[in-house]
Symmetry: C2
């Protein structure tokens, strides 16, 4: 039983390595451009092994995606917990999402590649829903708390939630494309716009704690 457990752990670890390798390769080059060879090389195994652990390239890719979603989710939850109040919590969410995008370089590139694979893919759709609800779902309760405590104006919660998500997405897209203006410029502007919208302009610009 102990041996069996060891094998299980070993296999899990291998899968993990392959998933991470896939993620980083795709983040750098995009789904179509990455070959199984690339993934195998980065993971330090042969091409044959990649398909020993995963059925297809797509399977490997979706695994990598799930891993990423999980990771971002965890980061957001942790970051929110470190600050107090709706304004700071909202800032924290935005900061985390932006930071993640910066870390994984071409986070969005990978994301946009899903589309090419086909939006009809059920697993992809579910993953997308999980991403939105899991990673961005926190904004709704933060907004709710903000309204109840009177910090945010009485805006429609569904509108506000949509606004935050769409704005973050859109601004990252712009940052990705335009490459004019620093990353921090975009993040700061994003925070400002969101809070401006939520408070109606009553929040004065805080001193930035640029970590």
């Amino acid at each position: 039983m102990a041996a069996k457990q060891f094998v299980q752990d070993y296999e899990d670890q291998r899968r993990d390595e392959l998933i991470k390798a896939t993620y980083y390769e795709v983040a750098e080059k995009g789904y179509s451009a990455v070959t199984l060879q690339d993934i195998a090389k980065r993971a330090g195994v042969s091409k044959g092994s990649t398909l020993y652990y995963f059925a297809t390239k797509e399977d490997l890719f979706l695994g990598a995606l799930e891993w990423m979603v999980e990771q971002v989710h965890t980061r957001i939850v942790n970051t929110i917990a470190t600050v107090e109040g709706p304004v700071e919590k909202m800032k924290a969410v935005i900061r985390t999402i932006f930071a993640n995008a910066q870390d994984s370089r071409q986070f969005f590139l990978a994301y946009t590649d899903f589309i090419s694979i086909g939006t009809r893919n059920k697993r992809f759709h579910d993953l997308n829903a999980k991403f939105y609800d899991g990673c961005c779902g926190h904004d709704r309760e933060i907004i709710q708390a903000g309204i109840e405590s009177g910090v945010f104006r009485n805006v429609d919660i569904e509108d506000a939630s949509t606004m935050v998500r769409a704005l973050v997405d859109g601004m990252m897209l712009q940052w990705f494309f335009s490459s004019q203006g620093t990353f921090d410029d975009y993040r700061r502007r994003c925070e400002r716009i969101v809070l401006d919208y939520l408070t109606g302009g009553t929040v004065t610009e805080n001193a930035e704690t640029t970590a």
Copy 2:
């Protein structure tokens, strides 16, 4: 000379057909998934002909893109001219961009595929800039006019402009992915959020003229 002119026109027309064929194919399947064969078939010519008029597949694709950008730009300019006042003009811009996305089905799909091709491509970057400045650049003057006339609150114009663009982008992305809620729902919500932001909530919901 007349014959020469005819030949010129004929060639232009052929190029036009190929460009449109490319556009629709890519809009349906995405750049990578589309083959020269597909494009040729839709245009009613042979594969060889596509590369007789265009040097490479990428060239063909960028031509299609330019065509699209031009088209959207024209539509926006025309639509803005038909209405009066910052609020209505802003609505018109949003409506046109949304309508265009709906028309060409997977407008964004094509767009996201550029990224895979490589953001280092100069022509792509220029096109992107042209798209933003040409198609979305009108928002800045509309916002300016709105602030001056007192219809919009005194918000930072750069923030406001960024907000509108990012929100439209982001919401279209969400519409594209989630496929829950009708297209009109998204468009209407987008208009509401933008105007809510710009006016600070002083504009009451107008009766919709859903065309």
